[in-house]
């Protein structure tokens, strides 16, 4: 048990966590008008499901992998509505659009502070309770649980740096 705990904490790298926590808080405070409470990050089991609505952003360049922002359905609807400034339900075309753009801003905002230059893909959105999203098997998945007054979501980070940090990218110098 002790070894497992040790391994878990060793693989949860604050240099990855902190940029995402800051970015989540900034995106929701600035563009949704919602304060986010972040709980203790943990490692995710390989095939554990996410929440009901997930937006996936791929990373390429000096960093590879993916980041998933996954919401409880009701939280997703209410956060998307607050972001868009109009009522949005899960059956509307604006719903995946709003959820995708929130994930884009979270991933993009964190990316600057990862200390290297990576590119992100446009978001894909998956809707359906209990879905499982496959990811790179050699990269641990760190889950950052987040609470808002309108429900829960989680940021699942499964990325690895494949090139050493650059010194001139602005974010992490």
């Amino acid at each position: 048990m002790e070894t497992a705990t040790h391994t878990q904490s060793a693989r949860i790298n604050p240099k990855i966590i902190v940029p995402f926590v800051d970015s989540v808080r900034r995106v929701f405070a600035t563009m949704v008008g919602v304060q986010t409470t972040v709980q203790r990050p943990h490692l995710k089991a390989l095939a554990a499901p996410t929440y009901d609505v997930s937006s996936i952003i791929g990373f390429s360049g000096d960093i590879v992998g993916s980041v998933i922002v996954s919401f409880q359905k009701e939280a997703a609807e209410r956060l998307a509505s607050a972001f868009a400034g109009m009522s949005i339900t899960a059956d509307m075309p604006d719903f995946p659009d709003a959820i995708g753009e929130l994930a884009n801003m979270i991933a993009g905002g964190a990316k600057k502070h990862l200390g290297t230059l990576a590119s992100i893909t446009v978001p894909s959105v998956v809707i359906g309770s209990g879905h499982v999203i496959a990811r790179l098997s050699d990269v641990p998945c760190i889950v950052i649980p987040c609470q808002t007054p309108v429900g829960a979501f989680a940021v699942e980070i499964s990325i690895k740096q494949i090139k050493p940090a650059r010194s001139n990218q602005g974010g992490a110098q």
């Binding site: 868009a84 400034g85 753009e101 905002g109 990316k111 600057k112 230059l117």
Partner: protein, 126 residues
């Protein structure tokens, strides 16, 4: 004022519209990617007073779009509005020919300020 909004998120374009409407008498055109934006820009006889351009979009990204616009058009004011925030990205965008840069997430005040200072700087220089 005639503004072209280029962003693959229609939610983002709606937010930008709502904020920029505060400037009064606005006319908007919209594109979801660079290819659509080029079509609108080069088929519309009347020039736009401003183009707001996202970076991460399908088909043609905002950086390529700025390069393509500047091959033919050196004057239309272009503002990048993106989550891409690295110094290297901002430098690339300026090299490609943007007049200003807004980083997402932004407040309404930030967007208005960036748009008005860009337009008044260009007016003063003209």
């Amino acid at each position: 004022m005639r503004v072209l909004l280029v962003d693959d998120s229609c939610t983002m374009r709606n937010i930008q519209k709502r904020i920029l409407n505060a400037l009064g008498n606005m006319q908007f055109a919209e594109a979801g990617d660079g290819v659509e934006a080029l079509k609108i820009l080069f088929s519309t006889p009347e020039a736009f007073d401003l183009v707001l351009i996202d970076w991460n979009m399908p088909n043609m990204d905002g950086h390529s779009l700025v390069q393509r616009i500047r091959e033919k058009d050196k004057t239309t004011p272009l503002i990048m509005c993106t989550t891409e925030a690295e110094k290297a990205r901002v430098i690339d965008a300026i090299k490609a020919g943007v007049n200003n840069y807004v980083i997402k997430p932004f407040t309404p005040e930030m967007l208005i300020e960036r748009v008005t200072t860009t337009l008044s700087k260009l007016k003063a220089a003209a």
